[in-house]
Assembly symmetry: C2
Homo-oligomer: 364 residues x 2
């Protein structure tokens, strides 16, 4: 029998934690009193087990449960259900980490391209990569395409849609994505280097899959998806259905949960096939600490069975001036995402974009 | 121009709240500094606006933003992105409530059946309804079907799969759902009253839609779906694609967010088409207060434009003894869900199930 080891932080006093952990194990498996489970096979092979309890302080404990792999049906949605379905409704529980048995690693498979695939597409085998965002939403397809060409000519590797750009009346997906891809191709021809445009795909599964079909026809090689927003099952199905796309994962809606961002954005998105994972860098508009960011990047890149490394993409209000510090902090297996700070340059947008690209390219 | 009014709770001091609210408005719309937004049309019609700020105490404020409807693309995934995509990553923000413009109400449409449709199917025009769950997972299809028949013969209206039951090797969806539906039909023929079986559909969108197609062929009329788990866009697409099913919404993964459960389970799930909405009742295994539960039931049932009322389904460790109290609290437009407490009766399962059904039916 195989087990998934799920580690939770429980707010519970020492004299109550054993009872609380046992209740959590029932909640996340059979969801009924143990004495009402008559079948010994179910008690042995289905009911979750408390594997360990570690005191962190007088009020908090780290509890590891073993969840039967059989209950997941080897399906990502059901796995998430078993990991954090019902207990998400209990305020005293947070999901910290998960160790998967080999069959689940194989089932989900991780990035189809990962860091090396992204580097190959960008023709940048060693240096850090650069990324920026097309914004603001409300702009016309022509305005976004023009911006895309400017960024591309400035030497930025990956140009993604802002995650708020979807299929809106003022910039319908088809018109916008085709125009931006054409702009990226013009910039590429002009500079003689790859310019990768990644449209944001947002919507119901059918809509996302239709958009991906069209994007592929237009020569688009990378896309931006927010797994928590579109659903982890939709995300996993996308990666399986369109293995040719480089997939950038966006954290939208993901921080809302009491799930460790290190695990969710660094490890779980990677397992499900994110080639690159965007997350809020420390010292920006979001509250993640440097320690969290370091651990997240480590989770995305560290050796992990047969799972390819995913590219960490720190973002969220980073100015160009922080490039040297970020390269020092993350090393070279990183893609720096700077958006608003380039746009804030106004007339000097092209110049500041070139500074960004140069600062990364010349840092060797 | 139409606007969506989104109300947030902000942890912020009075001397900082105006700046913080303005930053939130930018985060949830253009995601860049206002001074970098050159186009006056975008400033006027796309950038979110701070509509009001109300002090709750020295550290907390209620802030209402107006988000441009145009940015949602009238798509549920993108709407969620605009409401709580990026700011979910900021610890000081919680989403409390949303007021939608008429075009979005019309676009999403609410329950296809609602309370009246569920009552018609159950042939119970006035009294409260009863619901229970097939569990534990790990049981064979035959064991679950037998349990389903026992519950049905005892007079329970709706028998749903436990939300942990998916498409697992020990009880594959097809075998299980067909066997349980046949058992419900036998119980119905024997008692002369409807017995409604609702299988849990879990998985990637493709898998869920395939399961629904088959369920429909087998005469199944109701299903259980967890919108946050499968993705709100998948949920909305399901309701549109299969308008004939009565849809019971399960809160799994939903409480993880800093989103008001009153709004999410009571109002948003209803808007997206949940005919009935399951949530943790007060005094059970979960921490919701009586006030939250009252407000949630009210949100599900109150008159709301052309949107049908959804049936509130309080659950989560309720014993049969609490039936009179719950009926007193919720009135008759409610479906009481009792699972584990029936199963804990062991050999007296049928008897306790009859007590449950009788307690509700005879209460008039």
């Amino acid at each position: 029998m195989a087990w998934v080891s799920a580690t939770y932080l429980l707010e519970s006093r020492a004299d109550e934690v054993h009872k609380r952990a046992a209740a959590l194990a029932l909640e996340q498996s059979v969801e009924m009193p143990l004495e009402a489970v008559a079948d010994p096979k179910i008690r042995d092979s289905i009911v979750a087990r408390v594997a360990s309890i570690e005191a962190l302080d007088s009020q908090r404990h780290r509890v590891t449960l073993q969840l039967a792999t059989a209950t997941t049906g080897e399906d990502v949605t059901q796995l998430t259900n078993m990991l954090f379905g019902n207990c998400s409704l209990q305020d005293d529980v947070a999901l910290e980490d998960v160790a998967f048995p080999p069959e689940l690693l194989e089932r989900f498979g991780g990035p189809r391209h990962g860091i090396s695939g992204l580097r190959a597409l960008a023709q940048a085998p060693e240096r850090a990569l650069t990324c920026t965002a097309l914004k603001p939403q409300g702009s016309s397809p022509q305005a976004l395409a023009q911006l895309c060409e400017t960024f591309g000519r400035a030497g930025i590797d990956v140009i993604k849609d802002d995650h708020g750009i979807a299929d809106q009346a003022y910039a319908p997906f088809a018109e916008r994505a085709r125009a931006c891809q054409a702009a990226a191709e013009r910039a590429s021809q002009s500079t003689g280097r790859p310019v990768i445009y990644a449209p944001s795909l947002v919507g119901s599964p059918r809509r996302i899959f239709e958009q991906a079909e069209r994007a592929r026809e237009w020569g688009i090689r990378a896309v931006l998806l927010a797994p928590m927003l579109i659903g982890l099952g939709t995300f996993a199905e996308f990666v399986t259905t369109f293995p040719d796309f480089i997939v950038l994962a966006h954290p939208a809606l993901g921080g809302a949960t009491r799930i460790s961002p290190v695990w969710l954005f660094g490890k779980f998105f990677r397992l499900l096939g994110a080639d690159a994972t965007i997350y809020p860098n420390y010292g920006g508009r979001f509250a993640y600490s440097a320690d969290v960011c370091r651990a997240l990047a480590h989770a995305a890149r560290e050796p992990w069975d047969s799972i390819r490394p995913a590219m960490p993409v720190p973002a969220g209000g980073m100015p160009v001036e922080r490039v040297p510090e970020m390269l020092e902090f993350y090393g070279r297996d990183v893609m720096l995402l700077i958006g608003g700070s380039l746009l804030a340059a106004g007339d000097r947008l092209a110049e500041r974009s070139r500074s960004f690209a140069r600062a990364v390219v010349q840092d060797v």
